[in-house]
């Protein structure tokens, strides 16, 4: 009887592995199959000339260029907001907070990490409405609001990876510089942070990926289908994930749908690239941290 139980487990595990692999493979293969054909300059720049479009001299219609630029600026702004604050918070929790305070804050940030992205987007929207009413009527859902909301979304990632990277250092490493007369701050900057850099950087890259792929937050905070390259932070903008969503339900011609496949493929490749990058950097930096003279 026991023998069959074990045999069954083995057979079962392999079946599950096969099913999951088949699922992933079909998703990726389908996308590549349908979208690979559309990957060319026309997909990105439409009828405009690529060179002139990149220098913003010619507006691109029916091309992905504005969406790509929009995503790029969005990610840059969100990280600019989230990185300093998340980094500083992670340092505080790892190095300065005492046991009970750390526990309480960890709970708060766990909750923040668990909040569905659409709720964060809703908060961003409500924030925009609030600011619109009470501060300046020129504030409306826009690039700035979206990046703020995205920053809220990825903040817990950055906090957590910073905190874990610092806490992962051995007690000896922490005390060495202190025993030599270094102050807490000196210890932090000259020893602790350089040694936890790999963890922190890979956390940063994962946060970047999260900003690039998110759709729910930007849907509620200012992304639109056709706005061209954003003129200012207070303007509406386009983004790649939203374009994909929009096309999936509102495509009006087979060509448009093909564009959707192309966009999906580009977004997929971008996110996979970032993911691999985070992994490689983590490995390389760990290597460097051990052999830097």
């Amino acid at each position: 009887m026991k023998r069959t139980g074990e045999k069954l487990t083995i057979w079962y595990s392999w079946t599950c592995g096969l099913i999951l692999s088949a699922a992933v493979f079909s998703i990726l293969a389908y996308l590549v199959f349908k979208g690979a054909g559309t990957l060319n300059m026309k997909l990105i720049f439409g009828d405009a000339s690529p060179l002139r479009a990149v220098f913003l001299q010619q507006r691109v219609f029916e091309g992905l260029f504005p969406a790509i630029v929009g995503t790029f600026i969005l990610v840059a702004l969100s990280i600019a907001f989230a990185l300093p604050i998340g980094f500083a918070t992670g340092i505080y929790l790892a190095e300065y907070a005492d046991f009970r305070v750390k526990n309480a804050f960890n709970l708060i940030f766990d909750i923040l990490a668990g909040i569905p992205s659409i709720v964060v987007g809703l908060f961003g929207f409500a924030l925009a409405v609030f600011l619109h009413k009470h501060y300046s009527s020129s504030i409306q859902p826009c690039l700035l609001i979206s990046s703020l909301a995205l920053a809220f979304l990825v903040l817990p990632y950055i906090i957590r990876t910073t905190q874990i990277a610092l806490e992962g250092l051995s007690p000896d490493t922490r005390l060495t510089a202190l025993a030599l007369g270094a102050t807490k701050l000196q210890n932090l900057f000259y020893v602790l942070i350089p040694q936890s850099l790999s963890g922190m950087v890979s956390g940063l890259i994962l946060a970047i990926g999260r900003c690039a792929e998110d759709t729910a937050v930007i849907m509620l905070t200012g992304v639109v289908v056709a706005a061209g390259v954003p003129k200012s932070a207070l303007a509406p903008y386009e983004a790649l994930p939203f374009y994909i969503y929009y096309i999936s339900s509102q495509y009006t011609s087979p060509e448009e749908l093909m564009n959707g496949y192309g966009a999906a493929l580009i977004l997929l490749l971008l996110c996979l690239f970032l993911f691999t990058l985070a992994f490689v950097i983590k490995k390389r930096l760990t290597y460097l941290a051990f052999y830097r003279p």
Binding site: D172, A177, A179, L180, G181, P194, F290, R292
Partner: protein, 237 residues
């Protein structure tokens, strides 16, 4: 309060109690240590020897859930002072009361940067002076000849015994008055151990040294005096 010519006490500890979480680790310790001497601290594992060392350079203050009561006076720069009161910054204290750990812990940098590190933390900017002091410290630690041609090599490439001497040199570069050592040779082979023991005998002329050790023959070779710990209490000295 100035010391008199006869008073050779370097460290004076009175009614020291130390608690970690709920455990009472050091109990009402009163002991004194003479200057320019080597005192060995021996006793079973967990008796509190290493904990005692870190009360002397206040390193325990970085551990949460640790508490201490009592008085620790050390004579530094000719002045006897309570290291927990008064206005001696803890970073300054640690430059005068240096510590070497059980497992060598070179920082991930070159040999020269490792030794220069405490100088940098203390605010030294003079490159020439730093180079000179680094060389002095390495000579004092019997390591100069072996590393003088590869000062830019990563310190972690050195052998165990060399790394420990590196850590000693690093601790010496600020010219401390007290050296605390927690089982300095337990991770080294017998040749390396011998070198370090000779080094200690040499250093005794300049410093007051406290060594936690498990090796009774080492203690016999090196120590002027033995203090025995058991269960947080000193039972003979």
């Amino acid at each position: 309060m100035k010391t008199t010519l006869q008073d050779k006490t370097k460290i004076q500890v009175e009614d020291l109690n130390f608690f970690y979480r709920d455990r009472h680790i050091l109990k009402d310790l009163t002991v004194r240590f003479a200057e320019n001497s080597i005192t060995a601290l021996i006793g079973p594992s967990g008796a509190g020897k290493s904990t005692f060392l870190i009360t002397l350079n206040r390193l325990w203050e970085n551990l949460p859930e640790a508490r201490m009561s009592g008085k620790v006076e050390i004579t530094l720069d000719g002045l006897r002072r309570d290291i927990y009161q008064g206005n001696l910054p803890v970073t300054e204290l640690r430059r005068q009361v240096a510590m070497v750990f059980q497992t060598p812990n070179p920082l991930p940098m070159s040999i020269s940067r490792n030794i220069a590190f405490p100088l940098k933390m203390a605010g030294n900017r003079n490159q020439e002076e730093m180079r000179h002091r680094v060389e002095q410290a390495l000579k004092m630690a019997y390591l100069w000849e072996e590393v003088k041609d590869r000062m830019n090599d990563d310190a972690r490439k050195l052998s165990g015994g060399q790394q420990q001497r590196l850590c000693i040199a690093r601790a010496l570069v600020l010219e401390p008055e007290v050296l605390l050592m927690d089982e300095p040779t337990s991770s080294l082979d017998s040749t390396a151990t011998e070198v370090i023991e000779d080094l200690l005998l040499e250093l005794r002329q300049h410093l007051t040294i406290l060594v936690v050790s498990h090796y009774l023959d080492q203690v016999k070779r090196v120590a002027d005096r033995v203090v025995t710990f058991e269960d947080g209490v000193i039972i003979s000295s």
